[in-house]
């Protein structure tokens, strides 16, 4: 059964700084998803990583996938306040019709 672990669970940082959120998963998977959630809102898809070595970038966020290490990272460059949110990674469980197994989420607070 797939397990997904994120760290850190909470991150408070200053604007302008760089940081990385890590997502480890327990069994073989060829894809990984990142979602963003603002307080009181639904989940918004950020990145879909479909192969080993996949790298995607959107503005100050960059996500990568290393299927051999079973690791995905979400890197934040020169953080701005608008990026404050909770970020979830999720992996598909191949034994359960590709149901998504979710990490616990990383609550990111970016201070001016």
């Amino acid at each position: 059964e797939l397990k997904v672990e994120q760290n850190p669970l909470f991150l408070s940082m200053q604007e302008g700084k760089n940081y990385t959120i890590y997502c480890n998963y327990s069994t073989t998977s060829d894809r990984l998803y990142w979602y963003r959630q603002d307080p009181g809102k639904s989940l918004e898809s950020l990145f879909v990583l479909l192969s080993n070595g996949a790298v995607k970038q959107e503005g100050r966020l960059m996500a990568s996938l290393d299927t051999k290490a079973r690791l995905s990272t979400l890197h934040i460059t020169a953080a701005v306040h608008d990026l404050s949110a909770t970020y979830f990674c999720a992996g598909p469980d191949l034994d359960s019709n590709y149901q998504l197994i979710w990490g616990a989420g990383t609550k990111l607070i970016i201070k001016p």
Partner: protein
């Protein structure tokens, strides 16, 4: 751009009352999910449909929750009777047949049980 629709967006109900949520997935999406998300936690899958059939409802509290997708399009999730612990965000998501298996989420229904 096609979106998943949900209603109502907010619902306040008293415990022991019945409550229902509606979801209309993106057109053509055969797979539909209902999730429950308690504040500060990740989403928890309640039920998965493939067309009109239930694929997985192992986490659905069947003594009080029911879900249906009669024509394989829109879906209803019902709680009867509601309990205080049911207060949460209820999210609907749909998935198409593309190889990415990406799930698209609706805006959610925030339920408060008093």
């Amino acid at each position: 751009e096609a979106e998943v629709a949900q209603s109502p967006r907010y619902k306040i109900t008293e415990k022991s009352q019945a409550v229902a949520f509606w979801c209309d997935p993106i057109s053509g999406h055969a797979t539909l999910y209902w999730y429950r998300q308690i504040l500060g936690q990740g989403p928890e899958l309640l039920v998965q449909f493939q067309d009109e059939s239930v694929v997985d409802d192992s986490q659905l509290p069947k003594d009080r929750f029911s879900a249906e997708r009669l024509k394989g399009v829109d879906s209803t999730l019902k709680i009867q009777p509601a309990e205080l612990g049911d207060s949460a965000m209820y999210l609907c998501a749909s998935r198409g047949t593309s190889g990415s298996y990406e799930q698209y989420f609706g805006p959610g229904t925030r339920l408060t049980v008093t």
